[in-house]
Symmetry: C2
Subunit: 425 residues, 2 copies
């Protein structure tokens, strides 16, 4: 008998489109061999023999994908929030990341990161490590043990990293190949992703070699794009040949539907079209973009263009790990952008924020981010009974409140990735 087949009964809620949400009170979400067989108002006879988990009145929603987070920065989230991107990198981030040359530091730090991520609403994540091969493998070991599904990248950076955090170009490429060989076939749900830090940290020569490796080994790619005006100006100086910052990646073949580019706040028309045409994923990181004084990305425009967009907490640019907080932040900054930057782009709705956190980012992992039939069965069960109100609320209203108030009384009681239950203790 397959223990990966079962039924969850509760108040089910998931997006059927970016704008629309289906809610079924007292519904049945059916998992067969780790894949959703659909959500039903009455349990179909053919599933009657499956074990049933009665979640009572709790909310059942799709798992959430955090498609941009820096594992080594978890150690200093909430600190040093007084600087802009480039100064913040030099003052806080690079010195912290240099510690990961020491495996015992990495062990302590990644142990905390992995166990906190395990207990968070995140089911899948696209993760930056550091440039250190040993520490990155250790991170992958720990993430594999959580049961979550992740992409993890050894970071490449062969310029502008300062004394303790800069690789030799050839060594960076060689280390990357060594790392990939080490981790090949080592994990069930943890996979490598090619990770040039960002153009200011990676020479054209290394960028070309990383693109070769990604192509040869059919690997996905993650990096940063158009986060901050000073960064954008710097890339223009570093790559005078490029038509836009995005072109500094695309020129090497690094954009496409298996690439995540974080931020994309200052993408002009050329760059937006490049991202759209290549199917590149935009990781929207609303809290980080506020905390590092970067700005607010035009996510409404990206959605309207049918682009691939998801959410990232971008710890430690963003301090908070919770994808619910990330959703609330996405809605809030979209309203400020409407008011302060461009009234032609309406704010995001909470429904759209839920879509970004689930199906939007989830699709980077395949058929992930919905409870509709055929999707990997990634699910969260949420207890909102301590978020009290005298009102009678419908399922959607309860979930809407949970997005804003998860941290004030919400409780994640169960979590599944491809039908496997995650230990939340």
């Amino acid at each position: 008998m397959d223990t990966n087949s079962f039924v969850l009964k509760g108040s089910v809620c998931y997006n059927t489109s970016p704008q629309e949400v289906r809610c079924v009170e007292g519904g049945y979400a059916v998992c067969v061999d780790g894949v959703s067989a659909g959500v039903f108002e009455q349990l179909p006879e053919r599933f009657a023999a499956l074990p049933l988990v009665d979640c009572g009145d709790q909310l059942i929603v799709p798992g959430m994908s955090d498609i941009h987070i820096h594992a080594p920065q978890y150690a200093f989230r909430g600190l040093g929030m007084d600087l802009e991107l480039l100064d913040w990198l030099n003052t806080h981030t690079f010195p912290e990341e240099a510690h990961y040359a020491d495996p015992s530091y990495a062990e302590r730090a990644y142990d905390i990161f992995a166990s906190d991520l395990r207990r968070s609403p995140t089911t899948r994540a696209v993760v930056f490590g550091t440039m250190h091969v040993e520490a990155t493998e250790l991170l992958m070991d720990k993430l594999e043990a959580t049961g979550l599904a992740t992409y993890v990248g050894k970071v490449n950076m062969d310029r502008n990293g300062g004394e303790n955090l800069e690789e030799d170009t050839a060594q960076s490429a060689a280390d990357t190949r060594r790392w990939l060989s080490d981790v090949a076939d080592r994990y069930d749900r943890t996979a490598p992703i090619i990770t040039p830090r960002f153009t200011p940290s990676v020479t054209d020569e290394l960028m070309a070699q990383l693109a070769d490796i990604a192509r040869e080994q059919h690997l996905p790619v993650q990096s940063h794009l158009s986060e901050n005006p000073s960064e954008c100006g710097w890339v223009k100086e570093l790559c005078p040949w490029s038509s836009c910052y995005g072109d500094a990646y695309d020129h090497f073949g690094l954009l496409g539907p298996r690439t995540v580019m974080a931020h994309c706040i200052y993408s002009d028309e050329t760059e937006t079209e490049l991202l759209r045409a290549t199917g590149t994923y935009v990781a929207h990181c609303p809290q980080s973009n506020a905390q590092l004084s970067s700005g607010i990305a035009p996510i409404r425009r990206y959605l309207d263009l049918g682009m691939n967009v998801g959410l990232g907490t971008d710890v430690a640019g963003g301090a908070n790990l919770s994808m619910f907080r990330c959703m609330a932040d996405a809605v809030a900054v979209s309203k400020l952008r409407w008011r302060l930057v461009d009234e032609s782009l309406p704010a995001l709705t909470t429904q759209e924020a839920l879509w970004l956190a689930t199906a939007g980012g989830g699709s980077f992992f395949g058929r992930v981010g919905s409870l509709a039939e055929g999707y990997e069965f990634d699910a969260l069960v949420l207890d909102d009974s301590k978020i009290r109100t005298p009102r009678e609320l419908g399922v959607w209203e309860r979930l809407e409140r949970y997005v804003y108030l998860a941290e004030e009384g919400g409780s994640l009681t169960r979590k599944y990735v491809s039908g496997r239950q995650i230990d939340l203790s």
Copy 2:
């Protein structure tokens, strides 16, 4: 023996100015008869006989004042976040507030509000009720029982409230007098505050009568000011005689150092000078101002001018009750304001946000918001041990992290108001 005299030992942290914070690791915060006798590195001999509460390594900080919050809106926080101010008022707020004509609804709703506020980091609050006298008295009864110190207002609104939420002018004034007579001498730490909702809800005639009552009975005042461009335009139509929106209150003598005006996002030079010259308090409500698409107030400018400024959660314009979240939001939006609106006004620091939440808003209650000698002994004890990191952190870094990560593992373990311990169960 006075049980209101004791010593707290732990990592003490409080502002000595808006920009500066004093931290004493393993320090002694001394409370004598409910008033701070100071914070010491070694316990002075004269306090050696006082009972000592050893808080170990926990953080000890001043209590926090939420100087703008709507108790009746607590029931729908996190809902209906898709509208701007005026539509939100008509669609969500006014219909909800109309329920408070029913004392049994008010009983259920205010029971939840008061008990959640009791367990929050807030020690003092300036609170809007509804226009209903009975419900407002019930709210005051419940707040008194929490042990917190609050100002609570019966709301006045004799125009533009719609069918179920609009008072007759004479009745509004008479109800206010009846309410004030009912609550006179009824409470130790719960006091009435005159509360014209905002100019669009209050005729000039009623505004004048409220000003008379405030003057006769020496009462403080709270209202809203310059929150939203449509609101500001409306006030210009309603009070064509006023030099600015603020003048629509000042004309009646309603501004001054015992008045809180929430928001002040769109205050022009005339209005800012009016607020400064009168010593009126600005309640900065960063999350609400984002969620209702209002904008971002120029708090840096108000601080530079030496104005009275504090923080408000403005539930339910803001969804979150936590003053730590409010601080983090204040810093975040100040960075977006710097980037998107006015690069001449630097962002707020976390130190300044702490000052706003403690001494800034606290001074509305008298000598409140610091652990320095002579202040009312309002204090919080915070356990940050579950906000794990592999780093060694100093006291200020721990507190800085707590501001951003309170909701992800922080725990309020003790709370005092004027030396009286609050039940957090």
